[in-house]
């Protein structure tokens, strides 16, 4: 049984205006998140990602369907029991949501007091958390004295305070610059690897998915349209929305106008080599080089997800006997002749 299980979950919100239509935020979602994995949920704004993640810690209750976390049906629990469940699920936010009236120390103290942790244990735990996120020197700073990255690190420390088994990250890096994003993603990976905490991360940034997640689910209009290991989604996106997301990071094989432009710009023939491994790139290059042809990489890219490599390169090939060579190379698996 997965750590988090959603079965045929629907969530409909009452209309915001009198006489308006009810809003179907989630329309029949099944989701399994295994213990120890980092599961990304990707989608455009309004796809239902935020609502979905709020079902996991019962900030929202489903209209129908079941939400099971660690064997407990959340949709059947009362408010008092839910409060206890929530103490075992940490959450971090795009806008950090730290209390401005409290120092870093005070912000970390809040969840520990809620959990009824005694004075001495609280002190010890807070100092442990501060060291874990690398902010030991900021204990008595107020949130406005911290940078965005530091604020999110406090947010992470606060979410970890009560030793949760799950961490929910709602667009946790969307308000940060690229350097800080990397820093926070590194910390989240450490949370996953060193503490074994399962992470569900909501994002619209494919870079976050690529560098952090193990599995990914793509949402569109309240449904999960595609789900699987990150590498599969990147290398072989099935749905249009997934392709749009993947194309923000990975170059597609040129076609249409892009292909026309390449043709005009480069004389000779154009071939595409898939780098995912069936034919080694060096075989292609060797075959072309021994015939004295000039080869130029004109488009494409090589991508890495964990140990896996995928992507393609488009080559412009010129020289005497180019047609024969291209015909021969084009028979190799993973090579396609474009023009």
């Amino acid at each position: 049984m997965a750590l988090v299980e959603l079965r045929d979950v629907h969530k409909t919100f009452a209309p915001t205006k009198r006489g308006g239509a009810p809003i179907e935020a989630i329309r029949g979602v099944d989701l399994d998140v295994e213990a120890g994995e980092i599961h990304a949920i990707v989608g455009y704004s309004g796809a239902g990602k935020s609502t979905l993640v709020r079902l996991v810690n019962a900030l929202e209750q489903p209209t129908s369907g079941s939400v099971t976390v660690d064997g407990t049906r959340l949709d059947q629990l009362g408010e008092r029991d839910l409060r206890r469940v929530r103490q075992g699920i940490g959450m971090i936010f795009q806008q950090f949501n730290l209390m401005r009236s409290r120092t870093v120390w005070g912000n970390l103290e809040f969840p520990l007091r809620l959990a009824g942790v005694g004075d001495a244990d609280r002190q010890r735990r807070i100092s442990e958390l501060l060291h874990f996120v690398g902010l030991a020197d900021k204990a008595h700073a107020y949130p406005e004295q911290l940078s965005g990255g530091q604020k999110q690190r406090v947010g992470i420390a606060r979410a970890l305070a009560t030793n949760p088994s799950i961490l929910l990250a709602d667009e946790s890096t969307s308000a940060l610059d690229p350097d800080t994003t990397r820093e926070v993603l590194g910390l989240l990976r450490k949370v996953n690897e060193e503490l074994g905490i399962t992470i569900i991360v909501i994002t619209h940034e494919m870079d976050v998915v690529r560098t952090l997640a193990h599995r990914v689910s793509v949402m569109e209009q309240g449904r999960i349209v595609e789900s699987g290991p990150v590498i599969d989604l990147f290398a072989r996106p099935r749905e249009a929305v997934t392709r749009r997301f993947v194309s923000t990071l990975v170059e597609e094989v040129p076609q249409g106008a892009e292909l026309e432009a390449l043709r005009r710009q480069f004389a000779g023939r154009l071939i595409v080599v898939d780098v995912e491994g069936r034919t080694s790139q060096s075989d292609v290059f060797a075959a072309l080089a021994t015939r004295g042809l000039s080869v130029e990489v004109v488009q494409g890219g090589v991508n890495r997800v964990g140990p896996a490599v995928f992507g393609h390169v488009t080559l412009a090939v010129r020289g005497e006997g180019v047609d024969d060579a291209v015909a021969e190379v084009g028979r190799l698996e993973g090579v396609e002749v474009l023009a």
Partner: protein, 223 residues
């Protein structure tokens, strides 16, 4: 210009009494009205749509009551609540009765001020507290109020000045204080010196309150 026939020299001890009366009328009103107003404000904030204890019926009713009493000019309000004052403090005139009326008026006014300041608290912070498993009542007392403390202090300071203003017509039901004194011994006796002396004392009184409020708010807001 300063008329030689002022009675100011003989009136100092009476001015002292009046100052003391104003101080304690205002202090009691700020204290009791402040607490009750905080309650009204929290109730308005919590029951409004999307609030922690969202309850349309409760909010509509409370909102209606506050809106009904707030616009009544204070001098008429005193008369309106006079029967209630007899019931609660046992007398319809004098200092006790005016404190009762002021407290009631302050409660509604402060309630609105509190509500307005609480709605500025970032809903994300409340959601974060909910995600940590905090109860709604706990969020109200340990998150919402502390987060809004700076503006709340400024709101109370504003209310303090309004309460001093209210106390000026205490004489309408035979109560004392500086306002009544200025009318009785200054204005009605055409004794400009007395009027202005009392006005200056009231101004100083308000200044001290405003200064304390500003200082406290700056402390809390750390700027």
């Amino acid at each position: 210009m300063i008329s030689q026939d002022t009675n100011l020299p003989e009136l100092w001890s009476l001015i002292g009494t009046a100052t003391w009366e104003t101080a304690y009328m205002v202090a009691i009103t700020v204290a009791i009205g402040g607490v009750l107003g905080l309650g009204v404000g929290l109730a308005l904030y919590a029951t409004r749509a999307g609030g922690l204890f969202a309850n349309r019926v409760a909010f509509t009713l409370l909102n209606l009551v506050v809106n009904f009493f707030r616009p009544i000019p204070f001098v008429i309000f005193i008369a309106t609540v006079q029967p209630l004052a007899r019931l609660v403090v046992g007398i319809g005139i004098g200092n006790k009765a005016i404190i009762f009326a002021m407290t009631l008026a302050a409660m509604f006014g402060i309630g609105r001020i509190v509500e307005q300041n609480l709605v500025t608290v970032d809903s994300g912070v409340i959601e974060a507290a909910r995600s940590m498993g905090a109860s709604r009542l706990r969020i109200l007392t340990t998150v919402v109020v502390p987060e809004a403390l700076g503006p709340l202090i400024l709101g109370y300071t504003f209310a303090f000045v309004a309460i001093v203003d209210m106390s000026a017509i205490a004489g309408a039901i035979g109560a004392g204080g500086l306002g009544n004194f200025a009318l009785q011994y200054g204005y009605r006796q055409f004794d400009t010196v007395v009027t202005w002396t009392v006005v200056l004392i009231i101004v100083a009184f308000v200044q001290v309150g405003q200064f304390l409020g500003n200082t406290a708010a700056r402390r809390v807001l750390r700027r």
